[in-house]
């Protein structure tokens, strides 16, 4: 595909703060209209990347272009073509809903003949019609996030950058928010969204897993689940669970063991060969095994797998 068909092109992008490397050698190409998820634990470099792409931070190495403009050299042109929602809610809490919308319409130079229509549209989209005169600070979290999205799209940008848009929002509001994101994408808007919620990652067309500043996996959610696991996954139901997980972590042939709800997930090289071995291993140690079967990995399994291989477990919220 020619570069013009991509909304975001990132080549060897890196950022260091003093001696700390926040983002290291990132390469990405995001086609137009894609919902692209950036998944990783807190501090992995997600916000730093998104800020560089919005022209808010100068890259230390490499380059990135957004909507065809270089983020380092033409940040103003980039800003005209993007909508950005920062991680922390950052509209003006002491302004009314309508005043925040008018402010951002002004900042994005929405032509006056379109102003009313765009603001109506944003209110409609964010489901805030009738709440125009509420003080923004008094809105519930989910409403605030929808308003922030409304403010970020008043100028109908072709690309949206959303930095953890749903953190601290209740599950129903989160779901509604993702519906909004998909509506945008259907209209041709490219959406670059960071999250540390695994189930949200499933809503993305494509995902990059980022860990300690580097990208550890890239693909569609199903590709990642199919290809990125180092080994196969076994579900083990046994009793007692606590001691069993510790034993299995050092059992032969087991690459990793973790508690998932009331069962264990084991990563093994070959599930067919490993299952009987584990059966024997556990019964020797007086752990009663109720069930052992091969399962399809979730994104969380994939994430734990790719980050454990790189040493040190990542903290993952589910």
């Amino acid at each position: 595909m020619p570069e013009a068909n991509y909304s975001v092109v990132v080549e060897n992008l890196g950022k260091r703060f003093g001696g700390f490397v926040a983002v290291d050698g990132l390469n990405l190409k995001i086609p137009k209209g894609e919902v692209f998820g950036f998944l990783g634990p807190n501090g992995a470099g997600k916000s730093t990347t998104i800020r560089m792409l919005c022209g808010l931070l100068k890259p230390s190495t490499g380059r990135a272009s957004v909507a065809g403009f270089d983020v380092g050299r033409e940040p103003e042109a980039v800003r005209q073509n993007i909508g950005y929602m920062s991680q922390k809610f950052s509209l003006y809490n002491d302004l009314k809903v309508i005043e925040n919308l008018r402010l951002f319409a002004g900042l994005y130079s929405v032509p006056s003949q379109l102003l009313r229509q765009r603001i109506d549209w944003a209110l409609e989209m964010s489901n805030l019609r009738g709440q125009e005169n509420l003080i923004t600070g008094t809105l519930p979290g989910g409403w605030k996030q929808r308003l922030a999205l409304g403010c970020a799209v008043l100028h109908k940008p072709p690309i949206l950058f959303l930095d953890e848009p749903t953190s601290g929002v209740d599950p129903i509001s989160r779901r509604q928010f993702w519906d909004l994101i998909h509506h945008m994408a259907e209209a041709g808007v490219t959406v670059f969204v960071t999250t540390h919620y695994m189930e949200e990652a499933e809503y993305c067309n494509r995902l990059a897993l980022i860990f300690r500043g580097t990208m550890v996996a890239l693909g569609t959610p199903s590709e990642l689940k199919r290809d990125s696991m180092k080994g196969e996954l076994l579900l083990v139901e046994c009793d007692p669970l606590g001691p069993a997980v510790e034993m299995l972590q050092s059992a032969p042939g087991v690459l990793d063991a973790a508690v998932f709800g009331n069962a264990l997930h084991l990563v093994v090289q070959d599930s067919a060969a490993a299952a009987p071995q584990i059966h024997a291993y556990l019964s020797e140690r007086k752990v009663s095994l109720r069930k052992i079967e091969r399962i399809r990995p979730t994104l969380e399994d994939v994430f734990v797998s790719v980050t454990t291989v790189r040493g040190g477990a990542a903290e993952v919220n589910s």
């Binding site: 808010l56 800003r79 900042l107």
Partner: protein, 377 residues
Amino acid sequence: MNFNRLAAVARKEIIQILRDSRSLAIVVLMPVTLMLLFGYGVNLDLKGLPVYVLDRDGSQQSQDLLKHFQASSYFHIARVVNDYPTIARALDDGSAKMAIVIPWNFSQRLSEGGPVEVQALVDATDDNTANVLIGYTQAVVQGYSSEVQTTWLNQRGQQIQPAPVGVQTRTWYNEDLESSAFIIPGVLALVMSVIGAFLTSLTIAREWERGTMEQLISTPVSAMEIMLGKLAPYFVLGMFDVVLCAVIAIYWFHVPFRGSFVTLLISSAMFLVVVLSLGFFISVLAKNQFAASQIALLITFLPAFLLSGFLFAIEQMPIVLQWITRILPARYYVSVLKKIFLKGTATAMLSADLIPLAVFAFVLTLLATRAFHKRLT
């Protein structure tokens, strides 16, 4: 520069100011409070100072002398006492600033043709007040003395010879020698410093602190548009306060206003640009409301208060401090204010003050725009 974006920022700022009762209170109440405080509270004139008297003579003559003290508005005879210890206590606890002791042989020595001495015990904790008291006391005693002399000469049928040299004083600019006329014009510099530097340093640091700056700079609005949009409302408020202070000074405190009102507005506008830019610059660097406001007060309000010539004459400062005052914009503004109010100096003759003010305004604006980048660090 896009006017719509600038206007959007300014409109937002105005709404925020109007909705924040604290900043409105600062804008309206602070100038009035400072004016009243300095108009009434800081009075460098010495009047009605409490004086204790120990009259050991108790004669007609000693009473005459005390009447002279009483007639002077500088003294107030608070008590007549009978012993030294009471005087010592009164000076100790501050109920008397001075005590006059008339010796037992006062009238006797006078009738013998003098000379006789009256003792004045002065609380010299505040050297300035003490000096003034001593001066006034000498004047009163001299007045009495020459009256006595005249009476003697008259009794002997001689005419008094007028003193060969006399002084005729005419006080210019502040004819009534009111210290409030000297102080009040300079209060404008204090008000401007607070409005300009203090309030603006808060408003920009607040945006960094709350994270709203990140959202703001992610839009196409330029650094210049943010700066002008944010400062414009404060400029208007500052000019409002200039007029408010001038009205209070002229119509409430009856400070003479002899210069050009237009020059007052122009020089105030220049000083406002200086302090607004400073406030903006500080908050860009501090990015934290508390630090920004402290620094703003430290580098604008304090120098305006202490080193601008507002209360303390620059010519009397140590030479090094005098040099330092040259880099303080407030010094030039205070100087212009005093000249416009009291002297009515023609605008053309104010160039020694107006040119440095203009240079400061230009340099600081440049500094502020250079310091503010639309980047996170």
